[in-house]
Symmetry: C2
Subunit: 353 residues, 2 copies
């Protein structure tokens, strides 16, 4: 007899990317925005008083929900806030899935999805992306999944599926499954699925301030969907899931949209410069609509380049798993960081010859 | 066919206490500490830089775990941190309970427990407290529960069960159930269960900074248990469940133990003054080891006094549920707040005659 559920005993925890404690490293391994958050964020934090910390915070992050409603043209009751997007994903999977209600997604994708399904004993239905990384609409709809999660742009590929394809999937599974569009990286893409929440009753768009708003350290996610979907998610949400500081900082960040947008454009410009540089060195880089690039490495191979960069205090992401072990996922840094990266890779390749 | 699991459709969300947006109210309804947090907390928050917000935080709240390990004489791997104690309770119930593994507790208790069990479809085994509010050890152990949650001091009664009784329950159910001791209010009690985590492999002690450290607005909980229990809980914990600001502020608060302790003593002194004052006015107040008092109201009744106080900008807690509808739960405030409360109640009683 065990103290814990068998599925918990059996499962492995999700392994997050490396977070070094020192700051003398070029950290382009977990898709942070290379630019600092808006000055309005620090001002909002410094305006929080002892009394706001002593008392419980607003239980529904109302100031943020009102700001988001205004910005995205929805009602505050169409918005829910969460402690990072991870909590949002957990709530959605917990509300929609169980042992008889599978979770569906196209693979490869964010590996946390299957871990979260495992924690509640829900089966998963993974459908491989075709070679062009288009959405396998019919194959997904043919599964018995009751919730689909589509990261768009996808991680770890950086590829983008047209919003119309997501709408097609939502229509095909209407009445039996919700389609969650994980837009963690949408601020760096040419389009997003927000318009679908008014067109489709079964679409929920998930966002985070981690990447677009340079606030990975703050843990703030939110979702937009029809009011009945949000009401159901609120049932599994912890009462006070966001603290007073996070609510104040996140509201300030979202409101200073112009600042954030300027960082997105800089990242996009740098990305579009970095891709041809990588290709010139022999990388096969997948076209990215995100703030990172997944690229198959030339000789001496992804693992050697990964370790060579690490020795030079440059941290990128490498997975030893099949299908990914020949690739590196590189977060787009500042112009200066990207130049250092390119030079370091060139040196490693030259030494490996 | 529904988009959500039937148990989610069917359930009602937990209803938290009222959180008024104005600050001109004497808010003694949700057990906040009436004194502000340590000045070290604000200093720690102001020391957080843009760079700490831009990057992901430490995934395991390591600075806090090290400080707690030092203070409580355990290892850092015996400590887990959570986004308020609510998240900790959710993780524990998710890891230990499911449709075939019930959750047990003595009633009345914190009503969130049954709501959390419902979200994952776990049955509950509620055993009524006897009239003296002692722990019904044998009756609890006779159930088939795989996790017991004991709030000590209990909410909403404020009563305290001897730690030896909790140890007896843990011994009786050893090998088949975990005993979680919810010590949200232990800072105001004469004893606590921390020593049990070294004596019993199946005991976990849950704490929060909300009450004892005046940080309800920060959302920071933690638990101490044997390393295998903590390792299992980490599997269901979101990777970055605490943000950079919360980790810094919580570590500062815990470290300034002397400051917090001084507030506990002031609250205890005020509590022990308030109880006889309430009794003098005709309340039947249960002896409290907490920072609140549950008391059966005299004429004109709990609901009338609750509304009368609210009209006078004093907020206490009143539930319309059977067994509680004749009682008020009053958080111990500052000396000044308590005087205003007593005078207001006296006026309401006089008017009601």
């Amino acid at each position: 007899m065990s103290y814990f559920c068998e599925r918990i005993e059996r499962m492995s925890a999700y392994v997050p990317g490396e977070q070094p404690e020192t700051s003398d490293v070029i950290k382009i391994n977990t898709n942070e925005n290379p630019y600092p958050p808006s000055p309005a964020v620090m001002a909002a934090i410094h305006a929080v008083r002892e009394e706001h910390l002593r008392r419980y915070p607003n239980p529904t992050s109302k100031p943020f929900r009102c700001a988001a409603a205004k910005q995205f043209g929805v009602t505050p009751d169409m918005v829910i806030c969460s402690n990072g997007m991870d909590e949002l994903l957990r709530m959605l999977i917990q509300a929609c899935c169980d042992a008889t209600r599978p979770l569906g997604y196209a693979t490869p994708t964010y590996t946390l999805y299957s871990v979260l399904a495992e924690t509640i004993g829900a089966p998963t239905r993974g459908v491989p992306f075709p070679a062009d990384y288009s959405l396998p609409i019919d194959a997904l709809a043919a599964t018995d999944a009751r919730l689909f999660l589509i990261v768009n742009p996808n991680s770890p590929t950086g590829t983008f599926v047209p919003i119309e394809d997501i709408a097609k999937l939502a229509k095909k599974v209407q009445g039996r499954a919700i389609v969650g569009v994980d837009e963690a990286y949408a601020n760096f893409a040419k389009d997003n699925a927000l318009r679908l929440v008014n067109q489709c009753q079964n679409v929920i768009v998930l966002r985070t301030l981690s990447k677009g708003y340079s606030l990975a350290g703050l843990r703030f996610g939110f979702a937009i969907a029809s009011e009945p979907i949000i009401a159901m998610l609120n049932k599994v949400r912890d009462s006070y899931n966001l603290d007073a500081l996070a609510i104040a900082a996140a509201t300030a960040a979202l409101t200073d949209h112009a600042y954030a947008q300027a960082t997105w454009q800089k990242v996009i410009d740098e990305r579009d410069k970095l891709v041809p540089q990588l290709r010139k060195m022999g990388f096969a880089a997948i076209p990215s609509q995100s703030n990172f690039i997944l690229a198959t490495a030339p000789n001496p191979g992804a693992d050697v380049i990964y370790h060579g960069l690490k020795d030079r205090n440059i941290l990128v992401r490498w997975w030893s798993t099949p299908g990914l072990s020949d690739k590196l996922r590189i977060t787009v840094g500042t112009a200066e960081q990207n130049t250092k990266l390119v030079n370091a890779i060139a040196a490693i390749i030259a030494a490996g010859r």
